[in-house]
Symmetry: C2
Subunit: 108 residues, 2 copies
DNA sequence: TGGCTATTTGGCTATATTGCAAAATACATA
DNA sequence: TATGTATTTTGCAATATAGCCAAATAGCCA
């Protein structure tokens, strides 16, 4: 594997990693509907505001969300709608796995 | 956020996390073409066989690949082709970010 | 059985991630 | 300016992840 290819997969992995956390995935899903400020998201997630702020900076660094100031508040919105397509595929993975495990139990 | 919803996002995140590593992303991409055994992948990635074996077990646990024995070898194949669609979206994130950073430099 | 190959697992260290609390920063407005 | 609100950053502790080496396991065949 040459260095260029390696760099490419590292860059790709960084994007996925940014989404690979329950709270951040929730944030992506939520921002798909409408933009939200930090405290709104913190309220929904029931975690500290500082924690949400960090999650948002991870998503922003990855290029997945954009922020816009409005007074003292900062509103975040999803900048790459295609990531929403991930959900249906992930769902199918979960369903397939659930079905196979049910089969295993059934076959016993 | 109720517990059920929380569990759902945790399950989803586990799937994404399984792919969110350069080597594992490379493996997914490679297995899309054809099935491969552990040492083949280790050769391509230039990492220890034991490390690849671990990566494969992560992918298998997530339900993303399946394994089949053939003598002493174990061949892995992709079990959820839809994950390949992730690549084009991830690519667009990378491109958008690159373009925006180029704009920033240009505007200075 | 004994030797060979392929894979997995255990042990270990190094590094990264997560979360909260506290401090710092930014903005609006009395 | 002083106060209040919203957000970000810093410091720290707990946990998770990644990688290698060595040891264990599994299958094949002389």
């Amino acid at each position: 594997m040459d260095k260029k290819k390696k760099n490419l997969f590292e860059a790709r992995a960084r994007i996925l990693k940014a989404m690979a956390h329950p709270s951040r995935l929730f944030i992506v899903d939520t921002l798909a509907g409408q933009e939200r400020c930090v405290q709104e998201l913190a309220g929904m997630l029931e975690v500290d505001v500082s924690t949400v702020s960090r999650h948002l900076s991870v998503l922003k660094n990855a290029g997945l969300v954009k922020d816009e100031k409005d007074g003292t508040k900062v509103f975040y919105r999803l900048s790459v709608p295609c990531v929403l397509n991930f959900f249906s595929c992930v769902e199918s993975v979960l369903e397939t796995r659930a079905r196979e495990q049910a089969d295993l139990v059934g076959k016993r």
